[in-house]
Subunit: 257 residues, 4 copies
């Protein structure tokens, strides 16, 4: 495999489709969000994306078979609202700089071919303070951004970098006449952060008028809360210890110099 | 050399050929297994694979000449059973992500051209416990997997990654209508692990009804056992020491904080 | 995006244009210089350069929108002198070896197409002594070099490497029949060094007979001076401490050996 | 510059030409050897090799101008013997795996086009013992190897890797019907090792019946000998100290465990 490649399982007809991207990243916020929606809405897989820029291993599945690292496209035929939703999630992001640009571009090319005019990408955002996590929004379209802010997202400060596919899809969408919004759930960056994903889901629910029950995330939240609690404890002890050491060191430097 | 390149020395006619791949990897299980079979069966070299993704050095041979890092294809004309066997082994795997995908793809393209419909890849599997090493099997074909389980392999738990050529050949075989099985010998990961290779050879012997004498591996096993024993000793001492240090450190942290 | 790509917003007519390049680098000397001139002269943006070799993130701007990492071309219609000036500045340089060559080449190809016959690149130069920063000049053209030396730049000692786009543009300009000069402002290498940029601006002012007021840099210089002062203090304390440690260590070595 | 590129300054007619390659590497043995021969024989530059796989900087020369990192081809019209000699030396080797293969291949393609049937590559060889440095030879041709052994080179033990262009040229020469020999001067690996180069020059002198005076290397040898002496002293002190530390540590481990 020399090139990033999209294998279509079927090609459905879409009504004004919107693409929601949630690949692995900080706190796994994008992936948890996308997978939750796919499961709750019963979205159906219709295409797979393979790339020589993905990690070079295969994953064993439950039946003792294996598959390449990949991303997958799902669709949900919206029975009431005016637009169908396409989801993109997967195992990994591209592993090299040039690969990141290439994969993002292939996703956009495919999406444009499906008639997608709006993309929402989802990721994590490093949270500094210990408050309830907010959802940060940026968009290439003022209308989309306002839509997100009405859904309780907050605007991002200027100068922030948004790393990886969630960012590049916005940056590259300009060349395709696609509007794009990025929703970043604030997270402490722990391995799995379903609380941050829940925040993003609340914004999406309002924006897209989705009928889903977010309580189904609560078991996952409880479990990850326990893990995060233990990790925080260890970190805090380490930090207190490091501070003591720094103070001791500083005294010593003052003494010696 | 811009591209991975296969140089054919001869092009034999094959009867329903099966490819066994054993390139260097964890514990050198694949390479030891493939080389043992090639030697015992008297398989004959018929093609060489070169790649700009292999390490950029040459190796000196016994006659004072040199050759590029490469992989080699051998074949064995099976006098009794219904299928000939092709072997692939070599000096190295590709060194970059994109190179790994490219080399695996070139191998599959070549194998498909030779009429190969079944591939068995061999590798090592990180063993946790101190028990006798098992052989772990995964396959893209349920029939092949059951065949391996009858040969005393065990099924892999879900979620495991299989890294490198042994894994990618399975993942990419789907695009070529080739069935593939991966046999992973459990190993402590030491440089050379012929015990793990012996386990894989026992499974292969049963599966392929091969008449070979595994006793010829015993000298190699004895030698590597001595080395591994010494390495284990050193590691255990280190581990005991590190544990003491950690306990001392933890006491100190508790005291200071 | 598979290839470095220049998006033209408009294509002005130029009178004997000269290109000044100032991308991020040591002490940000090039970027500060180019941006100062663009602002003071009121230069106008007319093209954008995107590349899969740039970092794979997007940057959030003040309106809550985002854009890809990019470089930008500006032009200034010189009302009096005989030549217009084109400026190139941006967010980043290419992140891989091959990417550096590719981006530099694309810049030259575009410049040549605009009729550019002379390029001035700007960068930082590691300053050893604690004296007032000088401006070091090298050029592919003896006439350009002398012009810079008349503007109070000094010649570079032989053997120095000039890393990145500022250097490669000179090296590659030979293949395009473009003359090129590189002006390097001596800098301690701190994050932002407007003092070094001021030195370069003085040389440029003389060379190009520009009517600009360098006092507008002074606020920036004052601010960065405070930061640099604090950094220097910390470094000096560290250095004194490290020296003491080295002496103690040396005594110990002498004692033990 | 997307591709490795050879710029020909002139295209001389050659009489059965032989190529000697000496690019930078361990102890700079190849580069010192090639440059010494070029100077002593008065060889003339006729082609330059540029590559996007070389480091991305330019070098300042004595006239205050700059040039890209490059390799250069020189030729010497042999007035007496039956063959002309082409030399290849330069600033650097390719910096990536794929780049190494690409540059070596471009060199061979160019050499083949000039009618080269024999290549001698020169490098350094890690010396273990403290004896007088030998010259190690490997070759793709038995006749060439014997020729080198008659010139007092010794054969290489099997299994050794020869890294970089000096090795790859031998490995890849097979595909071009070119015979190749590699001469490796034993070196402690110091930055510049003209003693190792002298050893290689003695072998070349005998093999190629060259009339050159190796005494011209002696000043360089004396200077580098002083530097090496000082480095060795420092290293020995460090090693003695590290040994003491290891012994102390081992005692402690035994005590604790």
């Amino acid at each position: 495999m020399k090139e990033t490649y999209i294998k279509e399982i079927e090609r459905p007809e879409f009504k004004n489709p919107l693409l929601i991207e949630g690949l692995p990243g900080m706190g796994m916020v994008g992936r948890i969000t996308a997978r939750f929606l796919i499961k709750e809405l019963g979205a159906k897989r219709f295409a797979e994306l393979y790339s020589p820029h993905f990690p070079y291993y295969v994953l064993v599945n439950k039946k003792g078979s294996v598959r390449l690292v990949r991303a997958e496209f799902f669709f949900w035929k919206n029975p009431t609202a005016e637009r169908d939703i396409i989801f993109l999630t997967g195992d990994s992001q591209a592993q090299t700089i040039e690969g990141q640009y290439d994969v993002a571009d292939k996703i956009l090319e495919f999406a444009a071919g499906l008639g997608v005019k709006v993309i929402i990408t989802i990721g994590g955002y490093r949270k500094e303070a210990d408050e309830a996590p907010k959802v940060v929004a940026v968009s290439t379209s003022q209308a989309l951004l306002e839509n997100a802010l009405q859904g309780k997202a907050i605007a991002s400060p200027a100068g922030n970098p948004i790393v990886g596919t969630a960012g590049l899809l916005l940056g590259l969408s300009r060349f395709r006449k696609i509007d794009a919004l990025c929703l970043l759930g604030e997270t402490g960056g722990y391995l799995q952060d379903p609380v941050a994903a829940k925040g993003v889901l609340q914004v999406l629910q309002t924006m897209l008028k989705l009928q889903i029950d977010l309580k189904n995330l609560d078991a996952q939240i409880e479990k990850s809360g326990e893990i995060a609690g233990r990790m925080r404890e260890i970190e805090e002890r380490r930090e207190r210890y490091a501070q003591k050491m720094r103070k001791t060191e500083e005294k010593r430097i003052t003494y010696i110099s």
